[in-house]
């Protein structure tokens, strides 16, 4: 029967129903369902989808740990050669589910995984390092093309063939550098690149130097004496006792804490949740992480307009880019509502 495959899809593609059925718990059925039919057609007799797992998107995202555990068990029973999830196109929760399941399967079961989604699907950024992720269109209109690429890659993975470059296979780059042999020796490639550069032609560098996403600097505040300032910190400052149980690393949440009526941080009213550095100094005096004492004095003396009554805190250490993006977006919304003018962000 060739390569054995298990396929994961959501309640919609599983024919269970739409948003109203999004809380559908994981179920394993034998054989193919929905897009699996297209995959099976593409495989011909080279591979067989032995079973399909269907799970509601809300169910998965609201019960990630439980759902992942159950799904892993279902896959383990099948002992497939390759696991496929999706494609999820632009469906956010579906994309996250596909990514999360792929990550779990590849890490705990050590089975090669393929999924597919639109590049702006939040699941893409979160999990493209953990799975071969075919880049799809943003809607199911691109299903045929997506299935063809997913199937081709799955066959290669299942038969242990070498996987080509992201451009060649259509998956999103995972950021891993791998050696290849070129047609020409390096010196010739360099001279050819030089000629292209001299002619003003487009060149493709073999090693893209790291570049970083930039945001244009915001306009400065005109006069801090009139401005409302807010404090945000990734150094994990929290009220004594860490009421929200912010994790010491890989934080999954941020805290919002009132400093109304507090003029100075002391061992009695503040500490750090950060696990990445020696906490003694911050626990002795949290002003060493967020300068509440100084800003309160400045507020009184009129050196700043006012200080926002809340500070926002998370732990930068090990926190995923995506989580911190998410936190920042929520914090920004809050700041906007509170008419804050500028932000002091401290990090340790």
């Amino acid at each position: 029967m060739g390569i054995k495959i298990v396929h994961y899809i959501n309640q919609f593609y599983g024919g269970i129903g739409g948003e109203d059925k999004a809380d559908y718990a994981p179920e394993k059925i034998s054989g193919v369902k929905g897009p699996g039919m297209g995959l099976q057609a593409a495989f011909g007799d080279k591979a067989t989808i032995s079973s399909t797992i269907i799970c509601g998107d809300s169910y998965f995202n609201e019960n990630i740990d439980v759902a992942t555990g159950v799904i892993l068990e279902m896959i383990k029973e099948e002992n497939p050669d390759v696991f496929i999830a999706g494609p999820a196109f632009n469906a956010g929760r579906y994309g996250v589910a596909c990514g999360a399941v792929c990550k779990a399967v590849s890490e705990s079961l050590n089975i090669p995984v393929v999924t597919g989604m639109y590049i702006e699907n939040p699941g893409a950024d979160m999990y493209k390092k953990n799975a071969y992720m075919i880049e799809t269109t943003n809607s199911a209109a691109g299903m045929k093309d997506a299935l063809a690429k997913v199937a081709a890659l799955a066959l290669k993975l299942g038969s242990g063939e070498a996987i080509g470059t992201p451009e060649l296979e259509g998956y999103m780059a995972r950021g891993v550098r791998r050696n290849i042999f070129c047609e020409d020796r390096g010196a010739k490639r360099a001279v050819d690149m030089l000629v292209q550069k001299l002619k003003g032609e487009k060149i493709t560098t073999e090693y893209p130097m790291p570049t970083f996403d930039r945001v244009d600097p915001a306009e400065p505040v005109k006069d801090v004496r009139k401005a409302k300032i807010a404090i945000v910190s990734s150094g994990g400052p929290v009220p004594k006792g860490n009421p929200d149980h912010i994790e010491s690393s890989s934080a999954s949440k941020f805290g919002k804490y009132s400093i109304a009526g507090i003029d100075d941080l002391t061992p009695e009213n503040g500490e750090t949740a950060h696990g990445g550095y020696d906490p003694v100094y911050a626990n002795q005096d949290l002003d060493r992480v967020i300068p509440v004492d100084i800003l309160k004095e400045m507020e009184k003396s009129g050196e700043i307009g006012s200080l926002h009554d809340f500070y926002y805190s998370t732990v930068g250490n090990g926190t995923s880019v995506n989580n911190s993006k998410k936190f920042a977006a929520e914090i920004a919304k809050d700041l906007l509502a509170a008419n804050v003018d500028a932000v002091i962000l401290t990090s340790t």
Partner: protein, 428 residues
């Protein structure tokens, strides 16, 4: 300056009573060879072995590789400053025993340096699996310090190269290649309409086992200077560098400089190749700033429109590469860089210790941290146990059956930063 290279293609090498080239076969008088190579009172013993392409032979640790050459017409000799005076080389006629190589081995210090496999997967990564190798093993007398030990082995290799090269003096070469670079103004006028190109030739020069010599001068002591490209073909630049086998340039590679050869190949057609600026990679930041300033100034002064800059080594030389790139770009001169990568065994780490947004045209020799398994070989020349201590090796590298698991870093020439090989890397 014009240099005619006469290639005598070597198809085999064997021991014989007389050292000579006959019908493409290099015959070697072992005793004479050893007497010349071992002619240093600091040497206790020398030995010689032959290793041919396709054989199940491993040479470890390889220190340097040298090509046998001989000057048959013109000024100076081969390896100026070491094996002859310091007359300017790079003109006249030089004969080359193409396909033959002297490979030196010895325990310079505890952990040095490369592996050359004559067959199997490792052979794909080193250029010296394709040459007929005369392997020279050198043991110094007791009580020799590390830096002297390095020098003893280095010089023994050069003497061996000169001795073998002389066998080609009266042989008619199979073909000739002529390379010419004229004095600057004449050279510019020869192709006034073509863009002008200079090669910025960075040399590893940080200290013990990290040195390179130009006309016998320790290059860490030079201020960047100009070389006619043909000078390197006569051994003006040689290696005293033996820490990172994959990305140091053995003397053989300097003598067959791939960037210079490829630039000559398009010289007069796509651009006007004016020559080389040699510069160093030093330890202090002041030296780095000074050398990169001088390099950028020289390149501008010569009138280059574009340059190729090649690095040697990794880590702090990444800073020199970036400084050279930034300062030369700032003068409005286009750059192409050649480097290699240390992206970790999984390829997921940052490849270089420094970077610059203007470094937008980079050729890479590959990720030196990638792991390779080298199978058992029938013959091992040298000291297999050093597999665990050479750069790129680790404890457990040498299995009990004699197979070796190492990073590519341990393979001589694997990730050449002058583009001698075909290896590269891509983002997956």
């Amino acid at each position: 300056m014009q240099l005619k290279i006469g290639n005598i293609y070597i198809k085999d090498v064997q021991f014989a009573s007389t050292t000579e080239v006959k019908d493409g076969v290099l015959h070697l008088n072992k005793d004479e060879f050893l007497a010349v190579a071992g002619d240093d009172e600091r040497i206790a013993s020398v030995d010689v072995y032959l290793a041919k392409p396709g054989e199940e032979t491993r040479i470890i640790p390889v220190k340097d590789v040298i090509e046998p050459r001989v000057k048959v017409e013109g000024d100076g000799g081969i390896f100026p400053g070491f094996m002859c005076g310091v007359e300017q080389v790079g003109s006249g006629t030089t004969h080359v025993l193409k396909g033959a190589a002297i490979v030196t081995t010895g325990r310079i210090v505890g952990f040095q340096e490369g592996i050359v496999d004559m067959s199997g997967p490792g052979a794909e990564y080193t250029p010296f699996s394709k040459t007929y190798n005369i392997v020279l093993k050198v043991e110094p007398i007791d009580g020799i310090l590390q830096h002297e030990h390095e020098e003893i082995v280095r010089l023994a290799g050069f003497r061996a190269g000169i001795y073998v090269g002389k066998a080609g003096k009266d042989v008619t070469p199979d073909d000739y290649k002529t390379f010419e670079t004229k004095p600057l103004v004449q050279q510019i006028n020869e192709y006034p309409d073509l863009p002008k190109v200079v090669y910025v030739y960075m040399l590893q020069t940080q200290g013990l086992l990290h040195d390179t010599y130009v006309y016998g001068v320790d290059a860490k002591k030079i201020i960047p200077t100009f070389l006619y490209p043909t000078e390197v073909f006569d051994g003006a630049v040689v290696s005293g560098n033996c820490v990172s086998a994959c990305d140091k340039n053995p003397s053989y590679v300097h003598m067959n400089h791939p960037v210079i050869e490829e630039l000559y190949a398009k010289h007069g057609k796509e651009f006007n190749f004016l020559g080389c600026v040699v510069t160093n990679e030093n330890v202090t930041l002041m030296d780095k700033e000074r050398s990169s300033n001088m390099t950028a100034k020289l390149v501008e002064f010569i009138g280059a429109d574009a340059v190729i800059i090649s690095e040697e080594g990794f880590g702090n030389p990444d800073a020199d590469l970036v400084m050279n790139c930034n300062k030369i770009t700032k003068k409005g001169i286009k750059t192409v860089l050649i480097t290699d990568e240390y992206a970790g065994q999984d390829g997921a780490s940052q490849s270089l210790a420094d970077s610059t947004p203007v470094g937008d045209a980079v050729v890479t020799g590959g990720n030196a941290n990638e792991i390779i398994k080298l199978p058992v070989m029938k013959t091992v020349i040298g000291y297999p146990e050093v597999a665990e201590v050479i750069a790129g090796g680790f404890q457990g590298s040498l299995a009990s059956d004699g197979s070796i698991i190492v990073e590519l870093q341990a393979i001589t020439g694997a990730t050449s930063e002058v583009g001698y090989g075909k290896l590269s890397a891509r983002t997956y």
